[in-house]
């Protein structure tokens, strides 16, 4: 019953460094999402994917990149880390689109600090 697995759980980066946040799901879901959540705030969509090879921007995509080469994996790349990217990052997956009756299943999050 793994569901959505995110790694790492915590990370501290220096300004200008790069890193990849990993996300994998074992539910054979076509739809996957990356959100960021700043302290005391709601979730903001960064990127989403409707299937392998297909990605699209969400509300706050600047400073991030994604790829989706397999159904299972949806990594999020930060190229030049900035303090404004300090946040908790959640990956989610769902069986069908947002307008359906299918819920999103969230991973446990990656807590990222940029110093």
């Amino acid at each position: 019953n793994a569901g959505v697995t995110q790694t790492p759980k915590f990370r501290i980066l220096k300004i200008g460094q790069s890193m990849t946040l990993q996300c994998a799901q074992d539910m054979n879901h076509n739809y996957m999402y990356w959100y960021r959540q700043d302290p005391g705030m709601g979730l903001k969509l960064i990127y989403y994917s409707v299937g392998a090879g297909i990605t699209d921007k969400g509300e706050v995509p600047n400073g991030y990149n994604v790829s989706r080469s397999t159904t299972e994996d949806f990594p999020l790349r930060l190229e030049l880390a900035a303090p404004s990217q300090t946040s908790v990052y959640f990956c989610a997956s769902s069986k069908a689109s947002g307008v359906s009756n299918q819920p999103q299943h969230f991973g446990d999050g990656t807590r990222l600090s940029i110093l």
Partner: protein
């Protein structure tokens, strides 16, 4: 374009009821409700798709008004385990989900 939630925070005693509202100036495709405990991932509660729909399980239920511009989450006879932050979300298009800022619910003994 985000749904607007109210209130921002509410404090209850065990056994009391609460209502959390989620509204929009335009009709929503659907409304998703999630609960998040501190330091954890959001957990799905329910989805409402149709205007006039009502859903519920146990003592947590929700409604979606006829114009699909407002949804309300009802928590009755609250328990300590109900504490957390409740989010509503709605797709801006098919897949671009937008969430409200959340309502922090604290249930005290």
């Amino acid at each position: 374009q985000q749904p607007v939630q109210s209130p921002q925070a509410v404090i209850l005693r065990e056994g009391e009821d609460a209502v959390i509202n989620c509204s929009s100036s335009k009709a929503l495709y659907s409304v998703h409700w999630y609960r998040q405990k501190h330091g954890e991932a959001p957990i799905f509660l329910m989805i409402l798709l149709k205007g006039g729909e009502q859903k519920g399980h146990d003592k947590i239920s929700a409604s979606f008004n006829e114009k699909k511009q407002q949804s309300s989450l009802y928590l009755t006879a609250s328990q300590l385990s109900y504490s957390g932050t409740y989010f509503c979300g709605s797709p801006y298009n098919n897949n671009d989900m937008r969430f409200g800022a959340g309502t922090r619910l604290t249930v005290k003994p």
